[in-house]
Structures are given as structure tokens and as C-alpha cells.
């Protein structure tokens, strides 16, 4: 303990004694005066010349701030960020926000009052205050009243202060020394401390990270993400072949899927194209042709595939005379059933789409083999 005095405390037995001592000691102007009492003693603030507490103003400002922020937040969240209609009210209807505005206002105000008083105005917690280390503090928090003459900048005149206090009626006087100035921290200790904090955070953080990575969601948290229903293309543990998607029963006819009749191109030759040659049909035919046909037959239908890699078989040239002379029904049949290495495309193209492709093939043929009148 250093021998520099922080204060001289004089203990008084009654509040009256304290109050009457203050003007006397104050007149000596020995240093800053402070009183320590077990409970608030009225009149002390006047006697010591303390200023009024600014807390009320702070609380008012923060309370209003809380109210305003609560209102704006609710208004933004419900009315602007994600407008939701609830109970027929416009997203901007503000009336229902009032209760929360009030509560948040009180919350802000309370925290300002409580924490503002403790932390800002009274600068607590302060465990190292010299008075706390004094012998008298036990009496002060019990039933005695202390007047303290404290060093204010200049060195404290201990003797004078003690004398003054005694003369003012103090029943006991104690010199409170300034506690030794232990520097904040040695660099080493600081480093060690910081490192251990960092290490603890790192370990905890990594553990959490891996925990979440390996076990992201546990039941029952997960329980609507994975419902016990069978989605399209799901696997199955029930059907021995592992497919939850089943094949229709052989021979059954689904609505809208009358089996395709003709068994050979010859039988199909007579089928008329039921679609008109209008822009919609041709656009449909073109989009389907370019998706499914152009890969082999080429965008122009000339049998030059867009596939850069060699296909095992040579795709047909749709511009060839043979193909051009096919009736529509034959082309339709080939699209439906396939020919040689070409598979049928009924799985990908509906009947309408197939007929549209037939039209489009005709357009391609015409474009490449334009007759004179087309050029006019």
C-alpha cells in the first residue's frame, strides 16, 4: 500500500451530526468533500453542493427513442419489407403497433434509468475504490455516517483534514490511503489472457461448427422437411426394385393416352395432320425440333448433327428426296415409333407436339428446297 493518502474519513453517529459537520469542514476547503451513508440522507446533496441528477432527461430521450424505433421497425417489417395482409387490414395499418411501442419505450427508459445510473453516472462497478478498503466502510454500510475529505488534484493535508473532522464532531477519523497502482497488465499476462480467450473461442467455435456441419438439423426440428409421403422420383424401400415410381398395368389405358394404333409406317401413311399450319404450331414444332431432333438431324434437317462427338449411326437427312416424299403420317410414325437406330419419341413429345414437328420438318424442307414460286 502506498502511503499517499486518498482521503480522511470522519465517522459520525447520527445524520444530524453529519449534516452539521459538513459546513464546518467545507469552510476549511481542504479538498473535495464526500459523505458516505448507509441510506440516502436528505439534505446532504444541498449541504455538499451536489448537482441535480440529469437522469430524468436521459430517460425521456431514450424512452422516446425506443418508442420511435419500435414504431418504425414494426411499420417497416410489416408494411414495407414483407407486406402481409392480416385479418383484412392493409399492411400499413399502424394502430395495432401501439402496445409494442409502449413496451419498448418502457424497456429503453428502464435500462437507461438503471444502467445509466449505475454505469454512467455512478461509474460502477468500481471494486477498487480506496474507501472500500477502509476500516470504516463496514460501519458506513451499517449505521454510521462518514464525511470524507478527499484529495482533489493536490496532495491532501492529512493532518488538517483529520483535525477539521474531529473538530466538526467526528467520533473517529481514519486516513484512507491510495491503493498501490498496479499497472493494468503486464504484456505477458495480457498476451496469455488474450490467447486463452482466443483459444477458448476457437475450440468452442470449431466444435460448434463441426457439430452443426455434421448434425445440421435433428428431429423433431427436421420434421416437415422430410415428410412421410412419396414424392415424384423417390426411391422406395418397399418395392423390391427400388423404384417408388411404378409402371402402369399392361393393357390399361390412361385418360388422354389412347394407344397409338398403326403398327407400320404404311398403316400410318394415311393419317392426316390434324394441326393447322399457323404460327403457334410452327413455333411449337420448331422448339420441339430443336430440342429433340436437331441434336442428330441438324438444325436444318440435313442430317448434320449438332453433336460434336460421333454418334454410332448416321442420322437420316430429312432433306433427302425419300423423306420429302414421305406422307406426313409416315414421319409422324417414325417420330412416334423410331426407325433403325432412332428411338421413338412418344415419351418426350405429345401427339400434338409430334404433329407440330411434322409441320416444322416440312417447313425446313421447303426452306432448303424452295421452289420458284417461293422466291417470288
Amino acid at each position: 500500500m502506498s502511503d499517499r493518502a486518498f482521503a480522511v474519513l470522519g465517522l459520525f453517529d447520527t445524520p444530524d451530526a453529519l449534516l452539521s459537520a459538513i459546513p464546518r469542514v467545507r469552510a476549511r476547503d481542504l479538498g473535495r468533500l464526500e459523505a458516505y451513508t448507509p441510506y440516502p440522507v436528505h439534505g446532504l446533496e444541498k449541504a455538499l453542493g451536489l448537482k441535480k441528477s440529469p437522469l430524468a432527461g436521459m430517460v425521456l430521450v431514450m424512452g422516446l427513442l425506443g418508442a420511435l424505433s419500435a414504431f418504425l421497425f414494426q411499420f417497416w417489417a410489416t408494411g414495407i419489407d414483407y407486406p402481409t395482409v392480416v385479418g383484412g387490414k392493409s399492411p400499413l395499418a399502424w394502430q395495432a403497433y401501439i402496445p409494442i411501442v409502449f413496451e419498448v419505450m418502457v424497456l429503453f427508459a428502464t435500462f437507461t434509468a438503471g444502467l445509466g445510473m449505475l454505469l454512467l453516472l455512478n461509474r460502477l462497478p468500481f471494486y477498487g475504490h480506496p474507501v472500500l478498503a477502509s476500516r470504516s466502510i463496514a460501519a458506513v454500510t451499517r449505521d454510521r455516517f462518514a464525511l470524507s475529505v478527499e484529495a482533489a488534484g493536490a496532495e491532501l493535508d492529512v493532518e488538517a483534514a483529520a483535525r477539521a473532522l474531529r473538530e466538526a464532531g467526528a467520533s473517529a477519523v481514519e486516513v484512507v490511503l491510495v491503493p498501490p497502482e498496479a499497472g493494468p497488465y503486464s504484456p505477458n499476462a495480457l498476451l496469455r489472457g488474450l490467447l486463452s480467450v482466443a483459444a477458448a473461442c476457437l475450440v468452442a467455435g470449431l466444435a460448434t461448427y463441426w457439430g452443426i456441419k455434421l448434425m445440421p438439423v435433428l428431429p423433431p426440428m427436421v420434421h416437415m422437411e422430410d415428410q412421410p409421403r412419396v414424392n415424384a422420383q423417390a426411391p422406395s424401400a418397399f418395392f423390391p426394385d427400388g423404384h417408388a415410381m411404378r409402371l402402369p398395368a399392361p393393357g390399361a389405358v390412361a385418360r388422354g393416352y389412347l394407344p397409338y394404333g398403326p403398327a407400320s409406317p404404311e398403316e400410318a401413311a394415311a393419317l392426316p395432320n390434324p394441326l393447322p399450319r399457323d404460327a403457334r404450331v410452327l413455333a411449337l414444332g420448331r422448339s420441339k425440333y430443336e430440342t429433340f431432333c436437331a441434336v442428330c438431324h441438324g438444325p436444318l434437317g440435313d442430317g448434320v448433327p449438332t453433336l460434336t462427338s460421333a454418334y454410332g449411326a448416321k442420322p437420316a437427312n430429312l432433306q433427302s428426296r425419300t423423306v420429302r416424299e414421305y406422307p406426313d403420317g409416315v414421319i409422324f410414325h417414325v417420330i412416334t415409333r423410331g426407325k433403325n437406330a432412332m428411338p421413338g419419341y412418344a415419351w418426350a413429345l405429345t401427339e400434338e407436339e409430334r404433329w407440330a414437328v411434322v409441320h416444322y420438318v416440312r417447313v425446313l424442307e421447303r426452306a432448303q428446297n424452295a421452289r420458284d414460286e417461293d422466291l417470288k
Binding site: 455434421l214 427436421v222 412421410p228 409421403r229 389405358v253 390412361a254 389412347l258
Partner: protein, 1000 residues
């Protein structure tokens, strides 16, 4: 998750009755835990009731923790996608397909359309090409989808309790048949009604190789009176076809004409009850009955007549008609003797003599447009009297069609069936084949079923049921959705049944296939499988040879449509004189009369393992999961019985025990009990209700006289979905006399204008709404099942229903008005009203429910934390909360029944009717992709699609020309609890009463 594939009962099985005795108020710890942990549910069901020790609870907990860990470890894995190996042209994953098929039950067949996803049925609805009831299916057909995925289904043939392969089973069957043939012993085929011409042909083929084949075709649920009367009247087995659409006056003699079992009847009736745009007066329905049937509840005037007196009532009426209204008796019937009893002495509470006079007048004035129908359970005298009335009124051929029984195999009576079974018990048959039905349940305690696994007994069936237990050889049968067949649903109309999927279990084959195998093994001529057999018969017999269409195309088109029209063969003229003996059979009732009738839910018990149907509230009593003895209020008072008391019912040395439910409106002295309950096998069915077949005598008499009812100790509360039956004077379901409406009084609206502090909502594109016509709605509750199937609504079990936790998104409120003895009933479907100012939305703290721009009250289950505040604040109480886990433990095949387009809700979340938003969104997407607006009628919610009365209309209220908008402007329109200012989107059209007093 090791035992994923272990068979699980569809609604987690026995838990329903394990804690049955607890009753309400007890913590349902056990059933809850059973729900929670699939492992527990798979445990042996013999677990004693108090087996859930703390240790076991902890074990289950740790098991679930292990499960959690196991699934967590594989979390980065996102599962797999299994595409088709070869995708069929018609299947696009995620897009439904529809297959026309045909549902058959009892003596009825009905064309249906099966919706499949990726080759698996997920919903059943009516066939839209069926002109009599387009798009409407019987409600049990809709519900039987669950039967397809019933985990209790037989998967493999069993011989003497051991699984055997299909060829082995076929060999064993053939061996038995050969042995019988060699020994010269007859062979009995005990089956249910043979409605299919091709099935009858197969039996004929079989008879060629098995000359000793006897066929008993018995439907235990149905009475035989009608059958007998019609046979003597027409000289052959015939079917009647009531045509309510042609009738102006209908008299139902305890006939559940409007039960919805035949949606065509409901549709025709409802069509006659819509006043809008109708020139003729509304059809009038009279009912005379002892029970309180759904049809009776919808009658404009209802006579309380003891069931045993109905014949006398009909004859009294006839006398009135002949004596005072100049109606002449049909030829041959002029001198028939019949007992005379004054009409007035028969009438109980309810409609009285004045109404009887009015009825007679109405009938007389509407000769040729009047229809009398009698319930199928009634004895021959009633049917004879009804036939006489119909003949006298000239109904035949006008309001009542007659057509011959579609097949050569006529139905057998109970006496015949019992005799055959007795011979079987005595070992007189070399082979007994039980195919379909469940005789061991329908003939309880019969000596034929006394010993297990009889060597000569063979069972072809869906389940390992009571009958399978007495057969040595058990052959699994395919479900009807997996089968081929043909039926005659209406006179002349042929309907085809085609499978909507390949059999779930390859060893389960349709019964015909087993018989075809037998036929071939015995050296007969038959195709390889029944599909070919059917097609061959159609090629030979149904395809008009003169047709320009090749058979293959004819056949494909027939399968595509599901129907082929035709004309029925004629029926010989009736000879009324033949009714004589039947008329004399009528006798005065004595003591308490007990009426045994097929259960509206389980029919003859074949659906007892179907949780949807078990939990489907009876449209009148609202009882689920039980068949209580229904007593008239006066009888209950006399016997000192309350709802839920237990009684012993005995008659002629036979007795059973049952719970009691008091049925207002039931005639004093009449009790009723439904058949089909009290099954002793299968995980859901077992132990639910009591088997009333016990009381059926040899003659199959369903109206028993002098029945003793005695109170026994204990209580067994009946789980009902409605516990309060009066409207308490509130304006909830409006029912107004026709004359008031005609005078425009229905349009008077009471109450003050509703004001709001807030500006009205705007709906940019559309505003969905619904209109429910209470004049059309008969209360059949078919909508419940369609909704349940479409929307993955879980089944909760009887304890939970007792607690009021059932989950149906739509319910049908049924209120009684007037005196207990003869109340009037009103029915009103109640579902989420999608209020514009929805009170539920305001209170949800997490915004899980709010309003969509197209006017839906949307519910995001995945956002719901389950505060249940919304449900409290819902004035209609249509929100449903998952109090416990009812779905998560489900595995295939049960999960295959779920609609993949709808969330399967877990515990802890709120749910409710969404107006089938999946259908709305699908239509919207389709319209958007095609660059157009959603057309009127493009979106049809499941309830509306299923409603046989077409009482539910759905559409866009923003479009003033849509059907729903036009109906919503009707003078009958009102909204329930309109005064609350919540602005519901569902409009009701008031029910119009058309009693003799109600019209001018």
C-alpha cells in the same frame, strides 16, 4: 430405422383399443407414446395395458435419440433420385394420370376414375363420362383407396400357416380340387354377389371341369325381402332402378335412398330441389320410418312408423288411394287379401294424419311421377306393399326402372348360405372356396368356422381375416384397383374395371386369376390371365361384329372411357297377383323392435380396417369407431339408459353387448344396430364395436321383434364428432318453407350494416369463393372422405375423437329442431370460410396464417409454432390441431396413399381447409404457362368434386359471371355468423322445406 419395411398398421393399430377403457380425461400417455415412436407401435400387441413403465419410456426415448443420431449422421446426404428405367409415354413424374375403372359393392357397381401419380393411385373420383352421375363416386369407393395400401393385406399365399410360392399355391389348389373331383364330392364356392358378366362366365367355365361346383353368392349386409318379392313379381331376379329425377313425389319407406351409396340418386334428388331456374314445382320427399335415416332427416314430411308396421302403413296408404282418390289396383291384385290396420294407429310422433292425407293426395295427383322405395333391409311384406303401391301409381317404367340381374349367378339367401355352410361343417364338400366376403364374420359362431385351418377350406381374400384363419390354404387377392373386370352399373350400361397400378404384391392376384389357374389345371379352356379372358369375352360377346371399328380400338376406347352404353334385355311383365303370399306375412310388431342395417361406414365389415371409414362420422348419429345401439329417447328413459351406457341385447337365445346412443326422432319401440362391426382380426378393425351378425337368424330377418335390452355395468362412451345437437335458436343453418321463399321473404336480411375501420381489401386477380346449397346437400358426408384422401388428413383413433381432436377439414353440422321424438334435422357442411377479415390471421404471432392476394386464408404449416390462438379465435371452429404425432411414423405402403402435392403435417401444427390450394395453384400455373386466365370451373376442390348433390360450387367471386358469383347473388344466399363482420368467402343457400304445409 432398421425396420422401415416392417408392416405397420395403417393407423398404428391396436393403440386404439388398448387405452379404450381409460375414457376421456385420463392422460393418454400410452397412446401418445405409441404414436411417437414407430418402434413402439411395431411391438407385439399383447403388451399389457399398463406396460409403459418408466424404463420402457426411457428405452423408447433413447431409441429415438439413436434414431436421431443415425439420421443426423447422414445429413449431408440429400437422398437419391430414382428415375424410371423406361418411362411410359403417359407418365410424367409429377403429373397425375387418370384411369377409368369400376367400383362394385353389394349389388351395386359404379364407374370411377382413379387418379394416379407415377403409376400409383392417390385418389378416386367418379367417372366424368358417366352421364347418370358424372364425376361422382360412392364415398366408400373414395375411401377404399386406403384399403389398397392397407399394410395388413396378405402378401403371399399361405398353406397351413406357412408362406408358399404362387406356383406352389396353385398346385395345392388344383390338387385339392382334383381330389374332390376324384372322390365325387361337390365343391362349394362361397362368394359375394356376382355382378360381373365375365366373372359369371368364368364360373360357368369352371363348372364344366368341376361338375360338382355349387356357387353360393351371398351378401350378408343386404336383406332378402326385396329379392324375394321381385322374384315372385317378375319371375326372375331383377334389379330396381329408382329414378328420382323423374319423380315429383317420393315416398321412402325407411329407405336410405340419399345415403350417397349411389351418388346418382342423390344427384337426381338434389336436381329436383333447386328452385333457381326450375319451372316445375320442387320434388317432395316423404319418409315413413322407425329408424332415423339420413333420407328421413331430409324428408319434407316424416312419419314415425315402427319398422315392422311399414308394410301396414303402405297398405293403409294404398287403401286411402283406392278408396278416396280413385287409384285403381293393378290387374291381378284386385282381390288380394291383406291385413287391415287403420293408418292412424300406426303413426307416432311427427307427421300425422293430415300429412298422410296430403301424401295420398300428392301420390294420386302425380301418378306416373310418384316413386315409392323401401329399404333393402326391410322384410318382404313391406317390399310387397311398396311394389303394389308403385304398380298402382304407375311408377314402373317411369320413375322406377326394372332390369334383369346382370349375370347368371343370382344372389343367394341367408338360409341357402347357412345350409351350405352346415354341409361344409359336416365335411360334405371336397373343397370349399371362400372368395370375397367374410363368412366367418357374417356367420359368427357357425360350426363351419369352429376349427382352424380346415384342410378343404381355401380362402381367397385381401386380408388374413376371420375366414382366412379357418382355411388351410390362403390365397392373397388383388385389390379392385389392381384388377380387371366388367360390370353393369345401370340397365344396359357396361363398365370396365382396369387396374390403375400393377399389383403391389406380385403374389396377390385377383380371385378370377386364381380360379383361371384352377380351371386350366383341371384341363379347362381358359386364357392365361383374367385380363385376356375378359378381353376375349368382350371380343366375342360385347363387340358388335358389324362395327366398323376394329376390336382393338373398340377395346382401347372402352377402357379409356370406362363405359360402353347398350340396351338392357327386357323384363317380363309383373304379375301383381304373385304378391299375395308376401302381403299376408305382415304381422303386428311386439316388444322392442331391433333393426339391423348395414353400416354406412363399414358396410358389411369389409372396410373395418379402413381408418378413414372408421373415423368417418355417421351422417346422422355422428358416431365414429363404434356401432352403438340406437334407442329412441322414450325407450332410453324407460330403460334408464344414457348415452354411453352398456347394454346386453338379446333375442331368441342370441345376445350381444353394446354401447347405447340415444337417437332423437327414432320411433318409440324401435332400436337400431348396424352390421359390420366387431371384427376379430386385423389391426385397426379388431375389437371396434360389436358384431351384430350374431343376431341374424337363419331367414336373414333384419327386423327383430321382442328384443330384450338390459343394462350391464360399465360405460363405453361413443366417440362422436358432434356433442351438441341443437342450434340454441341461433341463425346458423337456414331452413325456410318454400312458400316464404316464393314470397321473397327469404331475401329479407336482418341485422345492421357492418362497418369497418379499415378500407376494404382489394384482390388484384381473383377472389376464390364457394357456395353451398343446403337445399341440395343431403348431409351424406362424402365430402369428408374425398377431402381426407386429397389432403392427407390423418386418422386419430377413438380416444382422440372422444376428446374432440378429430382432424377432418370439412364436417357436416347436423342440428335437430323441434321435439326430441320427431325432430327436423338440418345439415350444413362446415369448412374454413376463408374470411376476408379472418380473425385467425390477426392473432397468429408468427404470421403463419395470413391472406393471399386471391382471397385465400392461407396456412403455412412450416411456419406454425402451434400457439393454437388462431383456432380459439375462429368462430367456426374449423381449424384442426395436431395434438400428437399422427403421421411421422408411417412407412410404405401406407405413405403411398398420401397426396404428394400436399404437406403431411406433423404434430404441433395447425391445419385447416385450404380450398384445395394445390388444385388452385396447379390451375393457375397451367393458365399462366398458357398465357390465359383460369377458366370458371377449372378449379374444383375435392369436396365439390365428390359432392353427389353438386351442392358445393367453387369459383372466382371477382368474375361476376362465374357460376359461384351468380349463385352467391341468389335470394337464398346467406353467410354463417355474418354479424361478426369477418366476411366469409363461403356463401350458403338456405334450405327450402317443401312439406305439404310449406308450399302454396
Amino acid at each position: 430405422m432398421a425396420d422401415d419395411t416392417r408392416p405397420q398398421p395403417p393407423v398404428s393399430g391396436r393403440r386404439f383399443w388398448i387405452s379404450r377403457e381409460e375414457g376421456p380425461g385420463e392422460p393418454d400417455a400410452r397412446s401418445a407414446v405409441w404414436n411417437e415412436f414407430p418402434e413402439g407401435a411395431a411391438d407385439p400387441p399383447e403388451l399389457p395395458a399398463d406396460a409403459l413403465s418408466r424404463r420402457r419410456f426411457l428405452a423408447l426415448l433413447s431409441a429415438s435419440a439413436a434414431l436421431a443420431a443415425a439420421s443426423a449422421c447422414s445429413a449431408p446426404d440429400r437422398g437419391t433420385i430414382v428415375p424410371y428405367t423406361e418411362r411410359p409415354d403417359e407418365v410424367v413424374p409429377g403429373v397425375p394420370n387418370f384411369y377409368a375403372s369400376c367400383f362394385a359393392e353389394g349389388r351395386r357397381a359404379h364407374p370411377v376414375l382413379v387418379r394416379t401419380r407415377e403409376g400409383r393411385p392417390i385418389h378416386v373420383e367418379g367417372n366424368d363420362r358417366y352421364a347418370t352421375a358424372p364425376g361422382k363416386a360412392p364415398y366408400r369407393a373414395v375411401a377404399d383407396l386406403l384399403g389398397l395400401y392397407d399394410p395388413d393385406r396378405l402378401r403371399e399365399p399361405q398353406n397351413a400357416g406357412r408362406a408358399v410360392s404362387v406356383p406352389e399355391a396353385e398346385r395345392l389348389l388344383a390338387e385339392k380340387a382334383r381330389k374332390a373331383r376324384e372322390q365325387g364330392l361337390p365343391v362349394l364356392l362361397f362368394t359375394d354377389a356376382v355382378l360381373s358378366p365375365t366373372r359369371a362366365r368364368l364360373l360357368a367355365e369352371l363348372r364344366k371341369v368341376l361338375p360338382g361346383l355349387e356357387v353360393v353368392s351371398y351378401e350378408p349386409a343386404l336383406g332378402e325381402g326385396e329379392e324375394r318379392v321381385l322374384r315372385s313379381l317378375f319371375g326372375e331376379a331383377v334389379n330396381l332402378e329408382p329414378r328420382p329425377e323423374k319423380a315429383k313425389v317420393i315416398l321412402a319407406l325407411e329407405s336410405d335412398l340419399l345415403s350417397g351409396e349411389d351418388p346418382a340418386l342423390v344427384r337426381a334428388f338434389a336436381a329436383g330441389r333447386r328452385p333457381e331456374g326450375r319451372r316445375e314445382p320442387l320434388a317432395r320427399l316423404y319418409a315413413a320410418e322407425g329408424r332415423f335415416t339420413l333420407t328421413g332427416s331430409r324428408a319434407d314430411a316424416r312419419f314415425g312408423v315402427r319398422t315392422g308396421d311399414l308394410g301396414a302403413f303402405a297398405l293403409g296408404l294404398l287403401r286411402l288411394l283406392v278408396g278416396e282418390h280413385g287409384v285403381s289396383l293393378p290387374p291381378g291384385a284386385e282381390n288380394l287379401p291383406w291385413p287391415e290396420r287403420p293408418l292412424s294407429s300406426l303413426l307416432g310422433a311427427g307427421a300425422g294424419e293430415r300429412e298422410a292425407e296430403a301424401l295420398a293426395r300428392d301420390l294420386a295427383e302425380n301418378r306416373g311421377a310418384a316413386l315409392v322405395v323401401a329399404g333393402s333391409h326391410l322384410p318382404a311384406p313391406v317390399h310387397a306393399a311398396a311394389a303394389l303401391l308403385n304398380l298402382a301409381l304407375g311408377s314402373l317404367g317411369k320413375t322406377l326402372g326394372v332390369w334383369p340381374w346382370p349375370t347368371a349367378v343370382a344372389p343367394s339367401g341367408r338360409g341357402e348360405a347357412e345350409a351350405a355352410l352346415e354341409r361344409a361343417a359336416e365335411g360334405r364338400y371336397g373343397l370349399v372356396l371362400f372368395w370375397g366376403g367374410n363368412p366367418a364374420h357374417a356367420f359368427p359362431g357357425h360350426p363351419a368356422f369352429g376349427e382352424p385351418r380346415r384342410e378343404v377350406f381355401v380362402r381367397i381374400g385381401l386380408h388374413e381375416d376371420e375366414t382366412a384363419k379357418v382355411a388351410a390354404l390362403v390365397l392373397p387377392e388383388a385389390h379392385w384397383l389392381e384388377s380387371w373386370g366388367d360390370f353393369v352399373p345401370r340397365p344396359g350400361l357396361k363398365a370396365l374395371r382396369q387396374p390403375a397400378l400393377r399389383p403391389l404384391y406380385p403374389a396377390a392376384r385377383q380371385g378370377e386369376d386364381w380360379l383361371l389357374g384352377l380351371l386350366r389345371a383341371l384341363g379347362g379352356q381358359g386364357a392365361e390371365d383374367y385380363a385376356r379372358f375378359l378381353k376375349e369375352r368382350w371380343r366375342r360377346e360385347e363387340w358388335p361384329p358389324e362395327s366398323p371399328v376394329p376390336f382393338e380400338r373398340f377395346w382401347a376406347a372402352a377402357l379409356h372411357e370406362g363405359l360402353v352404353p347398350g340396351t338392357p334385355p327386357p323384363v317380363s311383365a309383373p304379375s301383381a297377383g304373385a304378391l299375395g303370399p308376401h302381403l299376408c306375412g305382415a304381422s303386428t310388431p311386439k316388444g322392442l323392435e331391433l333393426v339391423l342395417h348395414p353400416s354406412p361406414a363399414l358396410y358389411d365389415g369389409r372396410y373395418a380396417n379402413n381408418g378413414w371409414l372408421q373415423e368417418w362420422p355417421d351422417p346422422v348419429t355422428k358416431a365414429t369407431w363404434d356401432n352403438p345401439l340406437l334407442l329412441a329417447p322414450a325407450d332410453a328413459r324407460r330403460l334408464g339408459l344414457k348415452d354411453g351406457d352398456r347394454v346386453r341385447v338379446s333375442e331368441g337365445g342370441r345376445s350381444l353387448e353394446s354401447a347405447v346412443l340415444i337417437q332423437p326422432g327414432q320411433r318409440e319401440g324401435v332400436a337400431a344396430l348396424s352390421l359390420g362391426y366387431g371384427r376379430q382380426a386385423l389391426s385397426v378393425a379388431r375389437g371396434v364395436g360389436t358384431n351384430a351378425f350374431v343376431l341374424l337368424g337363419r331367414e336373414g330377418e333384419r327386423v327383430l321383434r321382442g328384443v330384450e335390452v338390459e343394462k350391464i355395468p360399465g360405460r363405453k362412451p361413443v366417440p362422436t364428432t358432434q356433442t351438441h345437437h341443437r342450434m340454441e335458436g341461433r341463425d346458423l343453418v337456414r331452413s325456410i318453407p318454400l312458400k316464404e321463399w316464393a314470397r321473397g321473404e327469404g331475401e329479407k336480411r336482418e341485422g345492421h350494416p357492418l362497418v369497418s375501420l379499415y378500407p376494404d381489401q382489394e384482390f388484384p386477380e381473383s377472389k376464390w369463393g364457394m357456395v353451398i346449397d343446403l337445399s341440395a346437400c343431403v348431409g351424406c358426408s362424402g365430402c369428408l372422405l374425398a377431402c381426407q384422401s386429397e389432403n392427407n388428413v390423418p386418422v386419430v383413433g377413438p380416444e382422440q375423437v372422444l376428446k374432440g381432436r378429430e382432424m377432418h377439414w370439412i364436417r357436416v353440422d347436423r342440428y335437430y329442431e323441434g321435439p326430441e321424438e320427431a325432430p327436423r334435422a338440418v345439415h350444413s357442411p362446415m369448412l374454413c370460410q376463408h374470411c376476408d377479415n379472418a380473425p385467425c390471421e390477426n392473432v397468429c404471432p408468427v404470421n403463419a396464417t395470413n391472406h393471399s392476394p386471391d382471397g385465400l386464408n392461407q396456412m403455412a404449416y412450416n411456419r406454425c409454432v402451434g400457439t393454437r390462438y388462431c383456432a380459439n379465435n375462429c368462430p367456426y371452429k374449423v381449424r384442426r390441431f395436431n395434438f400428437l404425432e399422427w403421421t411421422a411414423h408411417k412407412r410404405e405402403p401406407e405413405t403411398l396413399a398420401f397426396n404428394p402435392e400436399v404437406t403431411v403435417r406433423p404434430r404441433g401444427v395447425m391445419e385447416k381447409c385450404t380450398f384445395c390450394v394445390q388444385r388452385i395453384e396447379e390451375a393457375k400455373v397451367r393458365a399462366r404457362v398458357e398465357g390465359r386466365k383460369v377458366a370458371d370451373g377449372e378449379v374444383i376442390p375435392a369436396c365439390a368434386a365428390a359432392c353427389p348433390a353438386e351442392a358445393i360450387v367453387f369459383g372466382d367471386l371477382k368474375d361476376p359471371e362465374s357460376r359461384v358469383s351468380r349463385l352467391a347473388r341468389s335470394g337464398r344466399a346467406y353467410k354463417v355468423l355474418e354479424e361478426l363482420g369477418v366476411r366469409p368467402s363461403v356463401t350458403y343457400l338456405a334450405h327450402l322445406r317443401n312439406g305439404p304445409e310449406d308450399s302454396e
